[in-house]
């Protein structure tokens, strides 16, 4: 009997092997590779042997520091001002370039600054672009997760009805999901285009020519927003389907009971639908968050991180570093950082949405 068991197990393993092997080679191994490489100075192609460098990559990526400076004063003690009237401060380079008094700031550059009274605090980062990438990614997640989730739920509620032709709407809303994100990004580049783009044309038409066309993807203040809007549109159908499956697990008798008790539409949603969607909500939220953190294709196709780094993202940076700049170890370190962020967030989400008894 034991032999039979092991034999049939052997067959089972044999069947599982191709899939399992692929997973090991393309998911599990790279994960550990990334981890290991992030502590070295590995480059894509390099004549030099790889060396262990400790946490240097992480320090390089995550190093931040602050310095508070008083404005420059002239001999009489009055504040010196620049041509536009703002106070003038000592040049930052004096502190960040081989200044023995500020070794911790060595090699950093200005990220942003804020003033308090006359003095001004400068926040410096060793890798300003990466910092911007983190901020952009976080903004992207914070906007996309609630908006896309809510919008998808709204659509799911709308199409969860027995109406003639409702399947047509389901198909239409789901269509963008089936189209490759690269294709969608290319299409939206035309929509957002500065001259003759669909969006500009529409807005001009609707406002009877009052609207001045905007270069949506070429302006730092609109580029990230444009990508957010397009990303929400693209994947909303997918999450709609998840919500829909959640909606259909709620027993119709609960709705009937609620209607006999006299619940309004909103009360029905609040007391029957939403509590019944709790597990679906957790799933949708986690999936959207993960996908949002992995934002890459849209950036790569539409803006390449520009203009002025306003659409840099973590994954785009990882790829750009690793392959564009051939800095595999830097790219690996970014991947590991992203992994830690996502892990932390999903643990927090799980904790916050846990089943309370």
């Amino acid at each position: 009997m034991a032999t039979k068991l092991t034999q049939s197990n052997g067959a089972g393993w044999a069947f599982a092997l191709p899939g399992f092997g692929l997973m090991v080679v393309f998911i599990i191994l790279p994960f550990f590779f990334a981890f290991a490489l992030s502590f070295t100075n590995q480059r894509l192609i390099s004549p030099n042997p790889t060396a262990y460098v400790g946490a240097a990559n992480y320090r390089q990526l995550l190093g931040v520091g602050t310095i508070t400076l008083d404005p420059l004063r002239d001999d009489a003690g009055a504040v010196q001002r620049a041509a536009d009237g703002s106070p003038a401060y000592p040049r930052l380079r004096e502190f960040t370039r081989a200044n023995p008094d500020y070794p911790q700031l060595d090699g950093m550059r200005e990220w942003f600054s804020f003033g308090r009274g006359e003095s001004r605090t400068f926040v410096l980062a060793r890798d300003v672009v990466f910092m911007k990438a983190i901020v952009n990614t976080v903004i992207f997640v914070l906007v996309v997760a609630p908006l896309q989730g809510a919008l998808a739920l709204g659509l799911a509620l709308l199409i969860n009805q027995r109406l003639r032709g409702i399947n047509l709407f389901r198909a239409i809303y789901f269509m963008p999901v089936v189209v490759s994100i690269v294709v969608v990004s290319l299409l939206w580049r035309f929509i957002y285009s500065a001259d003759g783009g669909l969006l500009n044309n529409m807005l001009t038409g609707l406002s009877f020519g009052l609207f001045t066309p905007v270069d949506w993807l070429g302006t730092p203040s609109t580029a990230l927003g444009s990508i957010i809007a397009m990303s929400i549109w693209q994947a909303v159908g997918f999450h709609m389907v998840i919500w829909l499956s959640g909606l259909q697990t709620i027993s119709p008798t609960l709705y009937e009971a609620a209607s006999i008790e006299g619940a309004t539409k909103w009360q029905t949603f609040r007391y029957v639908t939403w509590p019944g969607l709790r597990n679906t909500a957790v799933l949708v939220l986690i999936v959207i968050t993960m996908q949002a953190f992995a934002l890459f294709a849209q950036i790569d196709v539409m803006t390449k991180g520009g203009p002025l780094d306003s659409t840099q993202t973590i994954v785009f940076q990882a790829v750009d570093r690793g392959y564009g700049k051939q800095d595999i170890s830097g790219g690996s370190a970014i991947s590991v950082i992203l992994f830690c962020i996502v892990l932390t967030i999903s643990l927090i989400q799980r904790y916050l949405t846990r089943e309370r008894t």
Partner: protein
């Protein structure tokens, strides 16, 4: 409290007619039970009263007001579902108070009503539990509690006990009976359990294929079924039917015969029965008594004996090969294959026209 009037009520799902013109009068405070085979439209009819299904034709009156086009909440009804339909994420207290909560009742009043309902249903100790921590019977109690606090004119029950096991079903059946007495409310109750129907009902409505077959008090239906369907539907084991030849009509009586039956005279009650034709003789198994020797009115052989202790159910094959059942009120052994004679009082037999 209110009376309910159904007038020519009809319901179609697309081209399918499910309720085909139903007239029922339910008096204030009455306990009415709808029975009938599966798919006959009991639930549909109840849901039409509740307002969960549109009414295709006819009128529905509750408390003297036509409510055909009113929302469920405006009909003054409360409904208890077979699947309980209690909200899984709320405590028992919140479930019972649900209708009051959404209507914005003050907390003190709400607590008082919930406490009262919990007292009536003896579930005070369950109020802070969640539905997942309750047994089936307790869940159904919660559902009934939710109905009680609304103080409805009419209670509607759709097979409330059929998800419960036999013992619990009996307990809950009695509780519902008590509830009806203490609340003195109009109740409409759907079931396909005869015992529930017979014990609970003031009035039973027997339905078949969307039509009313007979309406009446339980014992009236039992002793005077209006047709073959009702006769066969009520009573367990169900009534024996023997197709007989009608020899003569003598006033109120019809003289009938059968190869296994001594000729007898049975009341025909003005049914469509003619001398020289066929008719169906119905005798309840309980009214058949064994007689020793070759005497008796029905003659056959014992095919099977089931001893239940208080009762012995004997399958008898009649001389012409047809089968009947006799339920004999004592524990006795009848050897299989032995001849048996059965006797009954013709006054307790029924004669129906052939379908």
């Amino acid at each position: 409290m209110a009376d309910v009037k159904l007038r020519g009520l009809r319901k179609s799902f697309g081209a399918v007619d499910v309720i085909k013109g139903v007239d029922i009068d339910i008096a204030d405070g009455e306990f009415v039970v709808f029975v009938g085979p599966s798919g006959c439209g009991k639930s549909t009819l109840l849901r039409m009263i509740a307002g969960l299904e549109d009414i295709t034709g006819g009128t529905l009156e509750i408390d003297g007001v036509v409510v055909n086009d009113k929302q469920p909440k405006d009909r003054g009804i409360a409904m208890v579902f077979q699947s309980y339909a209690i909200f899984p994420h709320m405590t028992v207290r919140e479930n019972v108070a649900f209708g009051l909560t959404i209507n914005g009742l003050a907390k003190a009043e709400k607590d008082a009503k919930v406490a009262e309902a919990a007292r009536i249903l003896q579930m005070e100790h369950l109020l802070d539990r969640r539905p997942s921590q309750l047994s089936g019977g307790q869940r159904q109690r919660v559902a009934i509690g939710r109905a009680i606090v609304r103080d409805p004119k009419v209670f509607l029950f759709d097979e409330p006990l059929s998800n419960l096991d036999a013992a619990l079903r009996m307990d809950m059946r009695m509780e519902i009976g008590k509830l009806h007495q203490s609340l003195d409310a109009t109740m409409v109750y759907v079931t396909h359990d005869q015992v529930e129907a017979m014990t609970l009902a003031d009035k039973i409505v027997v339905l078949r294929d969307g039509l009313v077959m007979q309406i009446g008090a339980p014992m009236e239906l039992y002793h005077n079924p209006a047709n073959l369907f009702v006769a066969g539907f009520l009573g367990a084991p169900s009534m024996n039917f023997i197709t007989v030849d009608v020899q003569a009509i003598e006033g109120d009586l019809a003289r009938v015969s059968h190869p296994a039956l001594e000729p007898i005279a049975v009341a025909h009650k003005g049914r469509d029965i003619r001398a020289g034709g066929k008719a169906v003789l119905g005798v309840r198994p309980q009214y058949l008594a064994p007689v020793e020797g070759p005497a008796g009115m029905l003659h056959g052989t014992v095919a099977l004996t089931e001893r239940l202790g208080s009762e012995t159910v004997v399958d008898v094959t009649l001389r012409d090969g047809s089968k009947i059942i006799a339920a004999i009120g004592e524990d006795r052994v009848y050897p299989t294959g032995a001849g048996i004679g059965l006797r009954f009082d013709p006054a307790q037999a029924h004669l129906f026209a052939v379908d």
